[in-house]
Symmetry: C2
Subunit: 202 residues, 2 copies
């Protein structure tokens, strides 16, 4: 007897949904069936939202997401403490920091961390942009808010070596973070404590 | 200080993803950021798959999903036992039954079950189509595989009242299902046992 399965477009949808993080095979099938059984405009709205959001721009200065302007809401704000510059790995690290209210300066997202095993070297990160930025508008303090893991440490050491001598004070947030976990997994209190306990690097 | 959030297209994407079943706020944000940070074609592929699958057709006979033909893979198969007709609530109930291998007949998806509270009355279901189908090609046995809840029972009673006198033997699958749960939550063995223990209705 021929094995019956969903038609190919449904199977393809399930395959595509399974690529998304935190979606298992059961959830993917459930979402796919929910979509194809809809009698309203929900699927059009969802696919529209995906297309629109995927063409989102990033800020030319800090790397955070921004609408259609060249600078993001943080870099273009007159209310930020521009003499403080916080270096993070990903643009997605910025909002968890913002939500704590512990920091009112500017950000710089590197786009990752140094990782020879994953073939991520300095030229793959936004490090030249950081150097140019520091040269053009030297901050009083450069705060490294990187992951408390091996690659985060290596990235911090690399930046200290590179930027020592530019006259900018460099600190890093305290290891209040659980060692081995990235910023995205920390709670707001931990991030706040890590900020206030930051230690000088040189 | 102005509260910083994601740009509107990203917030809209998170809102849209949250509508999907089994997706909480954390998962929606995680998926959205994964999508907008992608450097490959994944978002195009996902939104394409949603659009393609949402225009899927349903079989004019049984209501199961089908590609671009009028009849689905089951109804058009020469290998099925056409004298057995199994009535289910949703087209999504058909695959769990198929996977057990316990049934080799044809199906009829009603598109729901009678539920006055949800304003679902007989004319909202594919009951006229069922009557026409039975008249045109009377099956030896009509097997009701409906949910073991109040609405499923009510739907079964309604169909028995309606179809008694058509000369078709009517049975329903045994209450091996956990009472109160629909077909989609039952495991294969339970569904198999429920099939083999089906009892006559009149």
């Amino acid at each position: 007897l021929k094995k019956i399965d969903y038609p190919e477009p449904v199977r393809e949808l399930i395959r595509q949904l399974r690529r998304m993080p935190a979606i298992g095979p059961r959830s993917a099938e459930r979402i796919a069936l929910w979509m194809i059984q809809s009698r309203d405009s929900r699927t059009v709205e969802i696919s529209d939202a995906i297309v629109k959001a995927s063409s989102i721009r990033t800020c030319s200065l800090c790397g955070f997401f921004c609408d259609d302007t060249s600078l993001c809401a943080i870099c273009s704000s007159p209310d930020r403490e521009r003499q403080l510059l916080c270096v993070v790995e990903q643009p997605t690290d910025i909002l968890p920091l913002e939500r704590t209210g512990a920091f009112r300066g500017l950000y710089h997202a590197l786009g990752g961390k140094l990782s020879p095993l994953d073939h991520v070297s300095p030229e793959d990160l936004r490090i030249e942009t950081l150097q140019a930025r520091i040269k053009q508008e030297p901050p009083q303090e450069l705060i490294l808010a990187l992951s408390a893991d091996v690659e985060g440490e290596a990235t911090a050491h690399y930046l200290v070596d590179l930027l020592t001598g530019t006259g900018t004070r460099m600190t890093r947030i305290a290891q209040g973070l659980s060692v081995g976990l990235g910023l995205e997994n920390a709670d707001e209190l931990t991030i706040t404590r890590a900020f206030s306990g930051r230690t000088p690097l040189h």
